[in-house]
Amino acid sequence: MEAHAQTAPVKRYLAMFTPGGTIQESWAPTTTGSNFTLSPILSPLAPHKSKLLILGGVGILGNTGFGDGHAWGITRFLTCSPIIDQGGWTAGGMSVDQYIANKLGAKDPFKSVELQVGGTTSNCWGRISYAGPGQPLPGVADPQKVFDRLFKNLQAPNTGPDPALVAQYARRRSILDSVKEEYTRLNAQIGASDRHRINNHLQSIREIELRLTALPEQTTVAACVAPDRPGTDGDFVAKGRLQMDLMAMAIICGLTRVATIQWTRSTSNQTFPWLGLSTSDGHHSLTHDLKNADSRAKLVKIHTWYAEQFGYLLSKLDSVKEGDRTVLDNSIVVWGNEINGSHNRNNVPFVVAGSGGGYFRTGRFLKFTNGSHADLHVSCLNALGIPDTTFGEAGLCNGPMADLT
């Protein structure tokens, strides 16, 4: 499929989270540089080998704050921020996907899209994306709801505006103006702490109001085809696929340029019967049995399966050409985790796919010594045209990650 040629290709940022670390001896490629052999766990990514940067020796630094190693890992994964107590344990800062979305995506129909596969918890063990301190952005787990939010009103090419929608949107615009006034007038009457939350609520309204009150423009991207509306049944595998389909198509259609997908959560005891694992082989239980070779072998199966899912997502993005490149080439897709093995985070598996429009020099395995994943975020920001030199908690970031370009 081809998209219409664009003068300056849009760059996108995607992040995928899977929990439970990895089995290092089956994850790390053998040699560094571009002549590496894909490991057993990463072998499903063979078709995309030249577009990958596999990063070893990168840690999620920092362990102060509330919670435990899992909470720190998943909270810091995209925020590089400690967990704070703000009437509840939560991230102390904005996540990088939101930071990027604020800078680049404010005019997109969706500033960003957050997706979930499988269950999670509504606390700092189960969130990766934050609009700011204490403002988690839960992903939507139901593909049908995702579809309804993203694609229901996608304007098919060559159709005129629906008059009923026109009337509805006009009324909404006037109503939302009144609603916003309710919020601004309230500010004088309430205390500082409440005002912060009320202001954030108002900010959320402002972020969505354009899309809810202005008719969507017709898409000019030929590869953008609204998917069929998913049903509500389907198991973990099927829903994961649907979520990735929706995520990729949202990117392709230009509905957003920032998206995250979170598979289960840190400490998830997800079972994988389709891999031949039993009900008592919960993911988290296995990671606490690492002395057992049998358990390690089962974990390798799980992580290999997640690599297959990552590969599937990459294939979807890679299938759409944009000039000389593909959507994948013009994107950065970060696959990360919250821990290395059990509770420590000094060697968390990271894989980056896509070159951000030729910024990264892909097709290599790099091995760092005590690397900081915050540096990776800085490099991604730079690749996307955001010239920041640091991201997240001070003292845990060295600047852009070495040797990625």
Binding site: N63, T64, G191, S204
Partner: protein, 580 residues
């Protein structure tokens, strides 16, 4: 775009202590102290013992709690009578559904589709965590639109436009509906604005549409979506009573999870919700109403973490009937809790009751007698083996592994949910236990937790409790032996100043917990958290918590008296005017 959160106005000293790890590569010295609970003579949880055996205080990064109570429980200086600041509380999904049902007569439960609430300390109604993401903001917009479009005007119009005239009726509608939607009379400026909105809409779209526009705006207004409990405007730092309208909402949301009813509105209009007696009269009426049952069940389900049962997976080889038994386990524990709270003079029977509720299928699986059919009936327990909630299959299964019991999970539950204890964080180098087959019993398998000083600090607070439940396997079945070895179910409760804390087996554990002052105070604190939508503040809430505890004790640990007692406290009735 988002500014960093300013320091909250609550001068709160946190209840918990965080074990501070100074570097992730350093081996953690796992020592921490559990803090005293204010200066009220409330019980002290044991300070941990460091490797040398003496108590070790943890370095902390927050201020110490004022009035640390020394062991022995003497009173410290009299409590400062601070009051927590006003705190806006967003409606939860359940509250939204209930409110919309009572306001509009809509029963579609539109909020079921909303983004879920963030949870704090197991509760889904903590004010600070109820933020509004763009996703939820969008859901609120479309829900309001849908509700306004489908609203039956005859249910919400207080007048007939054809009789009264459209403009007059519109004004009356704004006043009447606005009072109900905002749960208080509109301020003059609000009323004028809404009337203007109504008139402009009526000119463009006609009377009916104008009514719906007002409904749609009000449903998205912060005055509808949030409960403000600031009292009348005052000087920052000033202590003010909740207005009678605010008190009406405080009571209706506490007991019914919905907006005030006609009687409460009338009492509010007469400014007759100010004295403790006035408040108590309404509180008793609300609690006696069937509408209270769901809310109280919701409290108990969160406090006792009932949904953990849904997350449990069991080995299909060894526990093939678990999927069939799970819903029955749910029904047992919910029936039991409901029965105890509403029928027993003392709610401590939750811990040590000599009965439960089962049907035949469940009773057969758990060697109980007295149930003959599908209906759930009261069954007597063999009290040499079982007493109360902690010996029910629901709890035992939820807090266990797929193929084994888990003294840690069970002990941690008791520690956090029944003793209100707080734990530090596990070290990064948490050792992996050996494979289960290498040990004779589960107890032996976890022995390293007590012998390894890195582990012991926290695990000595959890494991010895859980060991007392070792007669119960992964799905709560009783066993006298494990791998041929007799079960050792001796254990210890990590509480001071309560005499002998050792016990042998679950029935004795149940009795000890039921008699424990720490447990009684913790139950009060849990209800406080749920009722106030925030964690208790040792400084500002000490007085209120003590009052609740005293009522709980003097009432013979009555659930109903405890619930009413919250409404009588300073914390419930007053707020400090916050900084602007």
């Amino acid at each position: 775009m988002q500014t960093p959160n300013p320091t909250t106005a609550v001068s709160k000293t946190p209840m918990r202590r965080v074990q501070r790890l100074t570097g992730y590569r350093e081996t953690a010295v796992l020592a921490f102290a559990l803090l005293a609970l204010g200066c009220e003579g409330l019980s002290v949880l044991e300070a941990s013992r460091g490797p040398s055996g003496g108590p070790v205080a943890a370095p902390t990064d927050k201020d110490e709690t004022p009035g640390h109570t020394p062991p022995g429980g003497e009173e410290g200086p009299p409590p400062p009578h601070a009051i927590a600041p006003a705190l806006a509380r967003r409606l939860t999904r359940t509250e939204y559904n209930n409110t919309v049902r009572d306001l509009l007569g809509d029963t579609s439960n539109v909020a079921d589709e909303f983004a879920v609430e963030e949870e704090v300390l197991g509760f889904d109604n903590f004010a600070h965590a109820l933020t509004v993401s763009p996703l939820l903001a969008e859901q609120l917009v479309t829900a309001a639109e849908r509700l306004a479009t489908t609203a039956l005007l005859e249910k919400i119009l207080p007048c007939d436009p054809e009789a009264l005239g459209e403009a007059e009726c519109g004004a009356e509608f704004v006043r009447h509906f606005g009072t109900r939607a905002f749960r208080r009379p509109l301020q003059e400026e609000e009323r004028a604005r809404m009337e203007q909105l109504f008139e402009t809409s009526r000119a463009t779209w006609g009377f009916d549409a104008a009514v719906r526009v007002v409904v749609q705006v009000m449903l998205q207004s912060p005055q509808f979506l949030y409960r403000f409990e600031g009292g009348p405007a005052g000087t920052p730092g000033e202590r003010v009573a909740l207005t009678s309208y605010e008190m009406a909402s405080a009571l209706s949301y506490l007991f019914w999870g919905t907006m005030p009813d006609k009687t409460l509105f009338e009492a509010a209009a007469a400014d007759a919700l100010q004295t403790p007696e006035q408040i108590a009269t309404q509180a008793r009426r609300l609690l006696a109403d069937p509408r209270a049952k769901k809310t109280v069940s919701h409290f108990a389900a969160q406090w006792l973490k009932l949904k953990m049962l849904d997350l449990a997976t069991k080995d299909p080889q060894n526990h093939p009937d678990f999927p069939v038994l799970r819903p029955l386990m749910h029904q047992e524990v919910e029936t039991f809790i409901d029965h105890v709270i509403w029928n027993e003079p003392s709610m401590l029977r939750l811990l040590d009751a000599d009965y439960s509720f089962m049907n035949k299928a469940l009773a057969d699986a758990y060697d109980a007698t007295g149930a003959t059919g599908d209906a759930f009936v009261k069954v007597r327990l063999d009290t040499t083996k079982r007493r109360g909630l902690l010996t029910q299959p629901a709890f035992l299964s939820a807090e266990a592994l797929a193929n084994a019991s888990s003294p840690i999970h069970r002990g941690k539950f008791v520690f956090t949910q029944l003793l209100c204890g707080q734990l530090g964080s596990p070290p990064d180098e948490a050792a992996d236990l050996g494979a289960a087959e290498a040990f004779t019993t589960t107890r032996e398998r976890f022995a390293e937790h007590s012998t390894n000083p890195t582990c012991a600090g926290c695990h000595r607070l959890m494991d010895p409790i859980g060991f007392g439940l070792e007669h119960f396997d992964a799905v709560g079945r009783y066993r006298a032996t494990e791998n041929g070895h007799p079960i050792d179910a001796t254990g210890d409760l990590p509480i001071l100043d309560e005499g002998d804390t050792s016990f042998d087996g679950a029935p004795e554990l149940a009795t000890r917990l039921a008699a424990s002052r720490t447990v009684h105070e913790c139950i009060a604190r849990q209800w406080f958290r749920f009722g106030m939508g925030r964690e208790e503040d040792t400084a500002a809430d000490a007085h209120s918590l003590r009052r609740m505890y005293e009522v709980f004790e003097s009432s013979g640990h009555s659930a109903q008296e405890l619930m009413i007692a919250l409404t009588q406290t300073d914390a419930f009735r007053f707020r400090t005017v916050p900084a602007p």
